[in-house]
Amino acid sequence: MSARKSQKEATRQRVLDAARELFESDGYEATTVREIAKRALVSVGSVFTTFSSKGDILSQVMADRLDALYAELDRVVPHLRGSTPDRLRSIFAIHYAFETRRTRLFLAHIAAAYNWTLSPTSRPYGRTPRLKQVIRDCIAEGVTRGDVGPNINLDLVVDALLASYAWTYRLAAWEDADAETMSAVMDRHIGLLADGFRPAPA
């Protein structure tokens, strides 16, 4: 890495750290890019050479946070027991519990994902490749164990589960729902889908 490139990377990390602290203490709306720059000890201009907007910074902060979630999942998933629907329920419940530690920030991040000012590289809301992979592996294992029918269309089922997972968060935005409430809704959605992918009775 050239000196210039590594300096840019260091600036980027400083900005992200400062932004995370400010977002968590003051909230997303109340935090300005100028405050982020001040705390990171960089100029406002150099913030904007790395990020296109405040929403863009938030998007990156939220993506980085997920490392902790997936470290947790990597520990837990091998120990999951029970039916495939129950394992799926546990995986989604862990996600809801994780994101509701910072509900307002998470909702601000979803809203920002539709915002105009986002850079083209940022990912649309609901696309979480790692979650997709975990869910896919879990169902594929179910096929091997025999509690999921062999004719399942994996892509479609995974996609429907992710849509439910992502949009159930609107209960948090609209009704102030907690992780438990959203997990309960998701549990029932998983049950309905599972009725369709259980192996046919012999």
Partner: protein
């Protein structure tokens, strides 16, 4: 005597229905502001369009805009309501042409995607706002928004009544899942540039997968 008082009431109503010149001017101003706002929200998103920009686009002062609308979110809500009302109409039209529960649901999905095909920036702004805890709750409570969700549930309930789906189909919950897919596919349209044909193929598969469990006895 009843007869007489009835006549007076009718005369009174007729008078109210004829708008005064001032009321007409106000209506025209509102319409002008709304169409300017619609253009700017479509071009620069919700955040990017200020009341000042909207006033300039409409060729009037910011004061004149504020005389008609409380704030920017008030303006956006009006546009949303008008769109949602048209969308409900388009969806009802689709439902009337549907054959069987799968096809009718597909027509609901497609009415939405076809409606927003030429208005994707507005859809994007609406999603952004609907996720904000304060403003989102206001949008959720709009009557046409409720009606759209109810249309999905109604189709499943009818499917159960017609015997296409089992009694244990859980129409309400299952239609929520369909609605989640309906909304989530907007991402493909907004960010992936998907065609209506591609959206239709995906929606068709989603409907099949979600209804599968309601078909078994």
């Amino acid at each position: 005597m009843k007869h007489v008082s009835g006549n007076i009431e009718v005369a009174g109503e007729a008078e109210v229905r004829v708008p005064t010149r001032r009321a007409l001017a106000k209506q025209q101003t509102r319409a002008k502001v709304l169409s300017a706002a619609r253009r700017l929200f479509s071009e620069s998103g919700y955040e990017g369009a200020t009341i000042r920009d909207i006033a300039a686009e409409a060729g009037m002062s910011t004061g004149a805009v504020f005389a008609n609308f409380a704030d920017k979110s008030d303006l956006f809500r009006e546009i949303m309501v008008a769109d949602m009302e048209s969308l409900v109409e388009a969806m009802r039209d689709g439902v009337s042409r549907g054959r069987g529960v799968d096809d009718t649901l597909l027509k609901l999905f497609m009415a939405g995607y076809a409606f927003y095909k030429s208005r994707l920036p507005l859809a994007r702004a609406a999603f952004s706002i609907s996720w904000q805890p304060d403003q989102g709750a206001e949008l959720r409570d709009l009557q046409p928004v409720q009606m759209i969700q109810d249309l999905f549930t109604e189709q499943l309930t009818l499917g159960v009544e017609r015997g296409e789906l089992s009694q244990e189909a859980e129409a309400k919950l299952r239609s929520q899942m369909l609605f989640d897919c309906y909304l989530s596919n907007f991402n493909e349209a907004i960010f992936g540039g998907w065609s209506l044909e591609a959206l239709q193929a995906k929606a068709k598969d989603q409907i099949r997968v979600i209804l599968a469990g309601a078909r078994r006895g």
